[in-house]
């Protein structure tokens, strides 16, 4: 091992992305062969992940009312959708009567919980 061990400050700079280029590459090369610095980097990574949690809105506790609210809202939505279907079924032609409405298709879009940041806004502009 020819390079010196990491300082806590260097580890923190690396996990926050403040260490770039050759300095970051040198740190990574050292850590690849050093279990002591690997543990230091892992500890700073846990701090960073915890800070990311702290910057997100605090989850509200699920009270009995909140536990009931979701199923009640779903049931209400089902009644509204069903009544909408009945009220408009006579207006639809026979050809499209069996297709799913766009509003119902929207409910099938998969969601990824815990995601926060928009890729599209940060994507480089296409050529």
């Amino acid at each position: 091992m020819t390079t010196p061990h990491l300082s806590p400050e260097q580890a923190a700079q690396w996990v926050t992305g403040l260490l770039e280029g050759p300095a970051a590459a040198a740190l990574e090369a050292h850590v690849a062969d050093c279990s002591q610095c690997t543990r230091l980097l892992q500890a700073e990574a846990r701090i960073e992940v915890a800070l990311q949690q702290a910057t997100q809105p605090e989850a509200r506790p699920r009270t009995p009312w909140r536990r009931l609210a979701a199923p009640l809202a779903a049931a209400a939505a089902a009644v509204i959708v069903a009544s909408w279907g009945l009220s408009t079924s006579g207006e639809r032609s026979g050809a499209d009567a069996g297709t799913t409405s766009p509003s119902l298709q929207a409910f099938k879009v998969p969601r990824y919980e815990g995601t926060t940041v928009h890729a599209i806004l940060t994507a480089p502009a296409p050529l």
Partner: protein, 176 residues
Amino acid sequence: MSPLSPSPLASLSQRQAWDGLVRLHSRRVWVSLLAQGFCLEQAQELTQETWARLWAQHHRGALAELSLPGLAITQAGFLARDALRRGLRSAEEAPGPEREAPLPSPEDRLASAQTLRAVRRELGTLPEHHRRAFELAHEGVPHADIGRRLDLTPQRVRQLVWEIRTRLRARFGETP
């Protein structure tokens, strides 16, 4: 033309945009894996595998929404659990007879709900611009973009993020 067979030009520009996203968000994925106890090399491999899988899904049109870095971190979490099942955990994490039971460290205390609340309170005492810069940085928004939104230079954003993190980090270390 089928979405599965885009023209070479479309594919190239998409690939370049994708590579930009990978460069932008890889460190967050990497750090999330390090925090789970993987060594740097394993974290790098899992991060590459994460992007390869997301690219394949994106190319197939299987992703209705591409929210990053959250989606990549979630995907990496799945791969990490699979790797742990297959026994690819870091050698440092493997239990051994000489390994002592770890004492609670500052980072362990930070993870507790009590400490998280203390952090949030501390963040609440910051000036609005400073707190917002710190939050946006931890959402993965580049410093240059944060600067444009908050009318700050990227250098000032970097300085703010570092100062706030250092302050919070020191506070966590003192938490009993």
